[in-house]
């Protein structure tokens, strides 16, 4: 009989015993192969920042202890000033900055999503609680400080042509090119979550950041708003905006006003 002869040929008993484990092994190998191939062919996602602005994140980032932060901030004073106003133009002023904006930057330094030879090691040494407490301290500082401790802010006023260009961009943006007004997100008209106020920022720092966004050297803005806008601005406009904010004109009541 044919069945008998073929069973003898295949050693049917062994075949039957191994059929299920063999199929399972084959299946597992195929799945693993598919997963490995998938991992090899898919380009990795480019992630600007690991932060997700959920209500829980915002609550956790806002629950800092400003007193403990004031003790930790002794380390920061050399560069960022004892009153949150930096004595160096290329270092940001932190006084009165929105707490979520500060928290996001420290977290991004910690995750190496924003690059800085100075700030990355410092942020690495901070625990999540340290970051929240420092942020609470700097956010609580007044934005008007003793001029004796605050030597370089505000800087000299820009020439009138530059001031007019900056005021127009801050108040109206440029609809033709699709540049939104700065004050719609950076205040004083409106803020988005995690966006810094620029009214008391140093001009050198602002210019450096705009250049870095335009060249994608800094790429930690979620959904690329600043990389897009900085690339749309001309070199002259970036300079004008940095000078305008650096001279303290963003603090004027009613926000920016447009000269005729």
């Amino acid at each position: 009989m044919r069945q008998n002869s073929s069973s003898a040929l295949l050693n049917r008993g062994l075949f039957r015993r191994l059929r299920i484990p063999a199929t399972a092994t084959l299946f597992i190998v195929m799945v693993m192969g598919a997963v490995l191939l998938q991992a090899r062919t898919d380009a990795p996602d480019r992630i600007p920042s690991y932060i997700e602005w959920t209500p829980e994140t915002i609550a956790a980032a806002s629950a800092g202890d400003a007193f403990r932060g004031s003790l930790l901030a002794k380390r920061c004073e050399h560069c960022h000033g004892s009153e949150g106003f930096s004595p160096f133009g290329a270092t940001p002023n932190l006084a009165g900055m929105n707490n979520l904006a500060l928290w996001k930057q420290l977290e991004d330094f910690h995750e190496h999503k924003r690059l800085s030879r100075v700030m990355e090691p410092i942020a690495d040494s901070l625990s999540p609680r340290d970051i929240t407490d420092l942020v609470a301290y700097y956010a609580a500082m007044p934005i008007f400080s003793d001029p004796q401790d605050n030597r370089i802010f505000p800087q000299t006023k820009p020439e009138s042509g530059h001031a007019a260009v900056a005021a127009r961009l801050i108040t109206f943006g440029d609809g033709e090119r699709g540049i939104p007004p700065c004050q719609a997100c950076h205040g004083p008209v409106a803020y988005r979550v995690g966006v810094p106020s620029l009214a008391t920022q140093n001009s050198d720092y602002l210019l450096n950041q705009l250049e870095a966004f335009a060249s994608h050297a800094r790429a930690n803005d979620i959904n690329e708003p600043m990389r897009t806008i900085a690339a749309l601005l001309s070199v002259d406009e970036r300079q004008a905006l940095a000078e305008y904010y650096g001279s303290g004109m963003g603090l004027e009541p009613g926000g920016a006003t447009v000269p005729k």
Partner: protein, 174 residues
């Protein structure tokens, strides 16, 4: 139960069914997923995973000759800021919002695409004539709304560069 009560009950149920029927694209039901895929996304985590991560935005060449364009609308700009498509080719336009409701009004055409947070809007567009089409935001979305506008560059089909399967294109050098 008499007929009157039953009739009232049935009418109430029918009227209640009308509410989800007008918002069917926002219903998160397994049956709908099975029928045409989930259109739900988390507007807060578009940048972390899924089809709207940075390096997946822009124009993608599909195998059948059509193109897929993925875009995020946010306060107060569209990303990518300028997109590029070939003329006369079906465009699967997929857009979502990261914050408020926005809408894209393609000037010179009758296309109007709404971008809703939490939902992927898919529109089938086709631009037969090459040219530059401006699309401002047509849904008031906040303080910078009036400056929110982007550009769609429609190139003749032979000028549109051939894209690799994992390549995404916008007007700025890829």
């Amino acid at each position: 139960m008499n007929w009157r009560k039953l009739r009232t009950f049935i009418l109430t149920v029918l009227i209640l069914c009308l509410i989800p029927a007008t918002r069917y694209y926002q219903i998160d039901a397994p049956l709908l997923h099975w029928l045409h895929g989930s259109s739900r996304v988390n507007p807060l985590s578009l940048h972390l995973a899924g089809e709207f991560v940075e390096n997946n935005l822009g124009t993608q060449q599909d195998a059948d000759g059509s193109v897929t364009v993925r875009m995020i609308a946010q306060q107060y700009l569209f990303v990518p800021h300028c997109i590029m498509v070939p003329a006369g080719v079906p465009i699967h336009f997929r857009v979502t919002s990261a914050d408020a409701v926005h809408s894209l009004a393609f000037l010179g055409t009758n296309y109007l695409v709404q971008a809703l947070p939490g939902t992927v809007t898919e529109a089938q567009l086709n631009f037969p004539h090459p040219g530059d089409y401006t699309f401002p935001c047509r849904e008031f979305c906040g303080a910078g709304h009036y400056a929110m506008r982007s550009e769609l560059k429609v190139l003749p089909r032979e000028q549109f560069p051939a894209l690799a399967p994992d390549e995404r294109r916008n007007c700025a050098a890829k």
